[in-house]
Symmetry: C2
Subunit: 128 residues, 2 copies
């Protein structure tokens, strides 16, 4: 069985990259601990550790935009993983964009390069 190297970081968290299984677009990066990793493998849905809320987070638990795991890749040092996913709802970002990487650096400034799929105010009770 695969063991990830959670000891690598002081806080026991490792980065997990969510990538669209079809397009290859990087959707988001979040963190996992052992429990979030176990829950992901057990359920086939992406789980992370929320650093702000200090709890396991089923991605999409508020928005419904869950990520169904299609494939998992593990890096050379076993300290980073890629979740290749089916992104439900067409948007991974809590700000309503398809990916969290909706801004491109152009001459030192950020330009929005994606189109909003949903209005965060209608989906979340907090201001996105």
């Amino acid at each position: 069985m695969i063991k990830l190297d959670f000891q690598k970081s002081a806080d026991g968290l490792l980065p997990a990259i969510a990538q669209d299984f079809h397009s290859g677009d990087v959707l988001m990066l979040a963190y996992i601990n052992q429990a979030a990793w176990d829950k992901t493998l057990e359920t086939g849905k992406a789980h992370y550790w929320s650093r702000s809320r200090q709890k396991i987070w089923l991605k999409g638990e508020s928005s419904g935009n869950v990520q169904e795991i299609r494939e998992i890749l593990v890096d050379c040092d076993a300290d980073c993983v890629i979740y290749k996913v089916e992104q439900r709802g067409g948007a991974a970002c809590h700000r309503g964009f398809p990916t969290c990487f909706y801004r491109k650096l152009v001459e030192g400034n950020l330009e929005i390069v994606e189109t909003r799929v949903f209005n965060p105010g209608e989906v979340y009770s907090f201001k996105g």
Copy 2:
């Protein structure tokens, strides 16, 4: 000018994802601090902060496999970036594979799904 949120992590480091500009394959994940980020913008070549060596690291300084920046994306919280790069030498991983994510999880075990491009022993003086 864009400011990344380096204060977000206790150690002042943020994850940077290197993605192949052409194929969209995720090549690797490494960490940046303010100095590595500045150096990347200044030179157009991917620089990271090496946690093991505690120094700025020009990716490819030993192997020659530098990463030329074609585009940079910044996430919603300004605490993660994607370097879209031209990967020189056809391999990003110090173990000689095209990407660091050369292993796929299959029924709890890891299977190698890429083909080695170079022999680490011939490229590095340390054992890869």
